[in-house]
Amino acid sequence: MNSRIRHAYVHVPFCRHRCGYCDFTLVAGRDDLFENYFTALGVELKRLNQPIKLDTLYLGGGTPTHLGPDGVKRLFSEFHDALQPLPTAEVTIEANPLDVSESMIEAFHECGINRVSLGVQSLNSVTLKKLDRDHRESDVRQVMNLLGKSGLTVSVDLIIAAPGQTLDLVARDVEEIISLCAHHVSVYCLTWEVGTAFWGKRARGTLTPVVEDLEREMFELVIDQLSDAGYKQYEVSNFAQPAMTCRHNEAYWDCRAWEAFGPGAARFDGRNRTTNLRSVSVWIKKLLNNQSVTGDVDTMTAEGAARERLVLGLRRRCGVDRPAFFQASGFEVDDLAEKSIQEWVAAGFAEDDGRCIRLTRSGMLLSDSLWSAVL
């Protein structure tokens, strides 16, 4: 099995503080758990029966850089030989602007990290405050400067449709990101998740979401601005300069197998997706006691997996190529969704040249309403 796997994800569940909209698996202000985390991760990695040679490695969180330069190095030392990035591998780390310093960048180089995904979210002080972020726009400018000189590939995360945000503020954020020369941009409309502080505030009426019409306008504006600046939208939320797409994420959408470690991390063996227990402390305790940390298992039939592949494929702007799809899944696209595709084309939600099916922009913007017909 392992020999087929070329991708790995490691979840680092620590942040300085929890942002009000965030429902990720993480603990804030529990730096005392670092040591146990490293040990537990070591145990989980040892469970691999042979080392994996990696095309891509992704350190996500939480905030991996919250471990500090030494912590990041310590993390890599835990990988030992279990995770072996190939020389051409893409190795990404998610970073908080406040953590990125000269010494952090040195640590990146030392560990073989060659791509940084920076949690910028906005470059406007009011929006950053609204979003409950701990960094300021000036931090971002300084860090982008440092990173620019480092030779690392830089991706920037941007949140739009924050409460109180206007179309104009969105436009200015995007302009500035373009001027800061990010290689890659991920754009997310703010989502309201159950259990977050934002959810409660919305219920109490102290925070108001942006109305849907405006949200759409904002998203369309961003797509246009980034396209004009030479970024290609290659998936719903992701934009890249030529040859700068994120290979790790593309592996997910290609339904390739990947390994994963850390609390709440999910792995995929080509058919089943297994998710680790989400509680950081339970994940640590169980591993230290040599117990299983497996939580949910999503077991798919061959057809179920093919349908999932279709959805993930259609979320990509290149769309789904019929022969390639058949090759990879063993199912013909038209056996799975012929009628739906025809309906989408008729309604202007998709284009079909007989070989390749792509969603149009309006299809992409409404795509969640399409999936129930094909899943």
């Binding site: 994800y9 754009v187 997310y188 409309c189 989502t191 849907e212 019409d213 949200e215 759409r216 998203f219 719903v236 939320s237 994420n249 997910y252 959408w253 990947w258 994963a260 709440g264 991390a265 999910a266 995929f268 997706r273 998710t275 949910d296 999503d298 999932e308 959805v311 993930l312 979320r315 309604a347 939600f349 992409m364 913007l365 409404l366 795509s367 969640d368 309403s369 999936w371 129930s372 899943l375």
Partner: protein, 603 residues
Amino acid sequence: MPFDCKHIRNFSIVAHIDHGKSTLADRLLENTGTVEKRQLKTQMLDDMELERQRGITIKARAVRMEYRHNGELYELNLIDTPGHVDFHYEVSRSLACCEGAVLLVDAFQGVEAQTVANAYAAINEDLEIVPVINKVDLVHARVDEVLLEMEQSLAIEPEEVIRASAKTGIGIDDLLAAIIDRIPPPQGDPEKALQALIFDSHYDSYRGVITYVRIIDGTVTKGQKIRFLKTGVTHEVLDLGQFVPQRRSCDQLAAGQVGYLVCNIKDVEHVHIGDTLSVPGKDGAAAVAGYKPPQRMVYCGLYPSEGENFEELRESLERLAINDPSFEFQPESSEALGFGFRCGFLGLLHMEIIQQRLEQEADLDLVQTAPNVTYQLLLKNGETLEIRNPQDVPDTGQIEEFRQPIVRCNFLVPVEFIGPVMQLCSDRRGVFLKTEYLSPTRAMLSFDLPLGEVIYDLHDKIKSVTRGYGTLDYELQGYFPADLARLDILVGGKKVDALSIICDRRDADRRGRAIVKKLRGEIDRHMFEVALQAAIGTKIIARETISALRKNVTAKCYGGDISRKKKLWAKQKEGKKRMKSIGSVDIPQKAFMAVLETGAERQ
């Protein structure tokens, strides 16, 4: 020990809702030692899940008790009946098995609408009435006034009325004595050919249909063959017994007694409530009068929410009908909802209860269309049509006369609320008949009103304008011409048959606007704009638009997000499955009730 008729008393307890019938039954069970004190629960006979949830009696329940009076042992068969109007048919069937009725009146609430209706039902059956004023323990009991109300409205002598409290036990022994002294024993002959009336039944998945009977003449024993006169089929009695209050087997039931028979009948068609049982062959007895089928007041469509469960629904309806003969059902089909049944009920509570029983007892998911009353149409060609479903109304061109059912309503209200009740009735096009004073504080108002105006919310409205003190009862007078029309609803330009209603033309604009507005709130946004229109014939009288969805796309879809997101999408799919699609518009099930929306409060 067999009892001769002289030592049997059969009676029902009747009253307005909540006056304490079931609680009184508890006390009788306790004082006669039928149920041990530690096993006694409150309103013990209300043992159906829905009865306990709602705190009301839905089904009449029979119980056999023994009581020693003046040194002699008596068998007492009591039937606890429901008080709500919608279950009046249960009361009338119970009365037919009895020689007497205990009439309860709440010492605080006084005489209410169903007090009068039930008392008259008992009088019409020639039953001996044992009047009781209950809840005398209440601090606010107004015993003297209530006695006066009873005298004025029902000609009951105050001296005859037993003062009791079903809660504290006051007067219960007096009541037992009165039951034995005043109610005549049944007049049967155990030696004659068997003649028994089926007054109720239910379906047991192990033992088949269990019939509840009152033996009029003759004796029935285990192993005996009996004939169901209506269908002519013969079955063997495998088991029989009495309710104490659970079923308890015994060897025989003789003239005058009440009990149950088990014959392992799996075919529900064989058993009809109101049918007579006798012995096979030429010596059999004649059929007794039985029951007149009740007047169904409201109809609605019941459809399985998943079309393939149609047969299952039919089976469940048949089984339920064994236990409740007062609703009826006929297959029908709708373009929007597929195959289902048009069901007739005695009222809205009855409708709700049947739907819940189907969902709980048969585990079915149902879509219900809005209830409507029946109408009559006189066509230009001289034909008369009965309309139970608005979609059956033909083109206006063919209609000579459109008639609606009119009921005579009696309202019993404290005098200070006469004004508001008058107002309410005249707003609903009621015709005032008379006012009668039952006591210085209470009056009875009579109106003729369209049934359609009464059935939906008049109960609630009366309660709210009289702060809970007003009650009403109604009786069908007949069908009378009115200016009615069929109002259609179009969704995305397509008429949805299951959403049509019949209404007074003068109300059409208001109703139409209210319905499309309500629908706008019930139907989710789609990927396209959805127009909602109300129309009479080809004339559009109201319109609303559901604007198209603008954005619905998952932003993050990496690694572990995929399973989670897929679950969400799958949930949408489940949700969709439970909706009905008209064209490409998905309409949620509860939207079919939107047509009950009447619009702004009437002036």
